[in-house]
């Protein structure tokens, strides 16, 4: 079933032809074949608990429900609304309403899976149980941790979630309504001009392309309204790069130069004063203040409380402080607790915390979990693949795909160039991404 082991690369011409043939063959096969050849479900009485019903938790629940029979699969999460987070950028661009990103968690929970509508308050991997916020202990034989992450707005002095949508403050990540409020502020700025600040935190973060996308979207909005010359856009980079993959960082540097976006390297936001409209940044030379008329605040991110305070995070290294889970980067299996897996944003692995990462992590983690419970072995490997349709203006994007090693891993080599601003990449983001995501939640993609 899993064919994500083969890295793609090599000469463009031959692969392009092969890709076209593959695509044609795939479509023809889709028309001819009635169903996918699925391995028979594994019979087991195992108790499998999935903590978190976001993208990773639901995808894991669907995959597990397909692959085991007789097991007790329990999903633990208090959130009834499910957010399609990749849609937040489109909402903040004024292209979609907040409802675009909102659906019901219950719509994706497989019938054979029990859903406890409570939050996990405590992980006890030694006692093999989780405890919910009502104090209910849920024992398990296998645990999949998919709690997502915490947006730590409190780490920026003066910043509060309630400020989003007021006094020129936006923040795309906070939620669908906040993304819409961000558009209102950005749109107001696009009508008046002034200084707009963008940037990212120094921590690991969700979709590191999103802050860049919003800079490009703001630039495009200004241009469409004939206001670009009245505005100054500054991107505060947390280090000396604009993206963790060097070749992409260099491309973004060129695009920023082309669009007239100024870059302040080694600037990390530490405080905001909404009254004075001033943001303070930590730099190697000490604190620096920038005034703004619009700012897209991206807070530091860390693992949720319950994970941070458990034995699950890395004990040392760069991921320890923020509590990211100590998992093997190839199998997503916990390094110390063999019956625990970590998928999605909470996993302490390099690179993407994106829906694309989830799509490729979950089948690998599930394969290893099933190998563990059935006494077999799994050769499934997660290579760090992730993808980012990096919007460079409304109507164009670069379909950037890469892995742990900073290799570009284009899905359509020779056809869709990863570092070219293309309409087709935008069309995919607009039309195909959400359906692919939903299919992933249902275990179909």
């Amino acid at each position: 079933m899993s064919r994500f082991l083969t890295p793609q690369g090599g000469g463009p011409g031959g692969l392009a032809r092969r890709q076209i043939l593959k695509l044609g063959g795939a479509l023809a096969a889709a028309a001819l074949v009635g169903g996918r050849a699925v391995a028979a479900p594994v019979d087991t009485k195992a108790r499998i608990v999935i903590a978190g019903a976001g993208a990773a938790g639901l995808a894991a629940a669907s995959r597990l429900a397909q692959r085991v029979s007789g097991a007790t699969i329990t999903l633990v999460d208090a959130r009834r609304d499910h957010y399609y987070q990749p849609g937040f950028t489109l909402i903040a661009a004024g292209l979609k309403p907040p409802s675009y990103a909102v659906s019901k968690t219950g719509a994706y929970v497989p019938r054979s899976v029990e859903w406890i509508e409570e939050a996990v308050a405590e992980f006890d991997p030694v006692g093999n149980k989780v405890v919910t916020d009502s104090g209910r202990a849920v024992p398990y034989d296998f645990l999949v941790v998919a709690t997502g992450l915490e947006l730590n707005y409190g780490a920026i002095a003066g910043m509060d979630r309630a400020l989003i949508g007021r006094s020129g403050i936006g923040s795309v990540y906070a939620g669908p309504d906040q993304a819409a409020a961000t558009y209102e502020e950005m749109s107001r700025f696009a009508d008046t001009g002034g200084v707009a600040l963008f940037g990212r935190p120094a921590t690991e973060m969700k979709c590191a392309g999103a802050p860049l996308k919003y800079t490009f979207i703001t630039d495009d909005t200004l241009r469409q309204r004939g206001m670009r010359s009245k505005a100054e856009l500054i991107y505060a980079a947390q280090n000396q790069t604009l993206f963790s993959v060097p070749i992409v960082s260099e491309k973004v540097r060129m695009l920023f130069q082309d669009r007239g976006v100024k870059v302040a390297y080694d600037h990390v936001i530490t405080a905001i004063d909404p009254g004075r409209k001033v943001a303070t940044y930590a730099t190697p030379k000490g604190p620096v203040e920038f005034g703004y008329d619009f700012i897209n605040v991206i807070p530091p991110m860390r693992a949720p409380d319950a994970v941070r305070k458990s034995p699950l995070p890395w004990a040392s290294g760069s991921w320890a402080a923020d509590g990211w889970m100590e998992v093997d980067r190839s199998t997503l299996q916990h390094k110390r607790f063999q019956n625990v897996f970590g998928v999605g944003d909470v996993a302490g692995v390099p690179k993407g915390k994106t829906a694309a990462s989830v799509k490729w992590q979950v089948p690998v983690a599930v394969d290893h979990l099933i190998a563990n419970l059935s006494g077999g072995t799994s050769k499934a490997v997660y290579t760090g693949y992730t993808s980012c349709p990096l919007i460079t203006r409304i109507g164009q994007a670069m379909l950037v795909e890469f892995d742990y090693e900073n290799n570009l891993t284009p899905s359509f080599p020779g056809l869709i160039a990863p570092l070219e601003e293309l309409w087709i990449s935008w069309v995919m983001k607009e039309i195909a991404l959400k359906p692919t995501y939903i299919a992933m939640l249902r275990g179909m993609a």
Binding site: G395, L422, I424, E430
Partner: protein, 122 residues
């Protein structure tokens, strides 16, 4: 998007069109069957009807592009590399073929060209 599994394509298309997916598939299949039925019944392509259908098809291609631009908030200036022009051409061609077939069926049902041109074909 890293691997191309036919069932993933099917699942994604089902998500894109939702409840409309199977009715749309049925519509396309019925349209093609109706077209084939007309061809078999008349044992030839009616040239006058075809020319008018092709004229409608020309417009249909542009409607296809306009529709795609509208639902993706895009403008014609967004066409960047060759693959974009290929995609736009593909959309135009699909719109043109569909509109031509649909027009041909409608004109047949209206009796346009029916029998009147048939003798000339012989």
């Amino acid at each position: 998007m890293k691997e191309l599994d036919p069932m993933v394509f099917l699942a994604v298309f089902q998500e894109i069109f939702g409840l409309f997916f199977w009715p749309l598939v049925a519509f396309v299949v019925l349209g093609l069957l109706a077209f084939l039925a007309i061809l078999m019944r008349e044992r030839s392509i009616d040239p006058r009807r075809l020319v008018w259908s092709e004229l409608v098809g020309l417009g249909g291609g542009f409607v296809g592009i306009w529709f795609m631009m509208a639902i993706t908030s895009s403008r014609i200036e967004d066409l960047g590399g060759p693959i974009d022009w290929l995609l736009a051409t593909g959309i135009w061609a699909a719109g043109a073929v569909e509109a031509t077939i649909a027009a041909y069926i409608v004109l047949y049902l209206l009796g346009f060209g029916h029998r009147t041109m048939a003798p000339l074909m012989r």
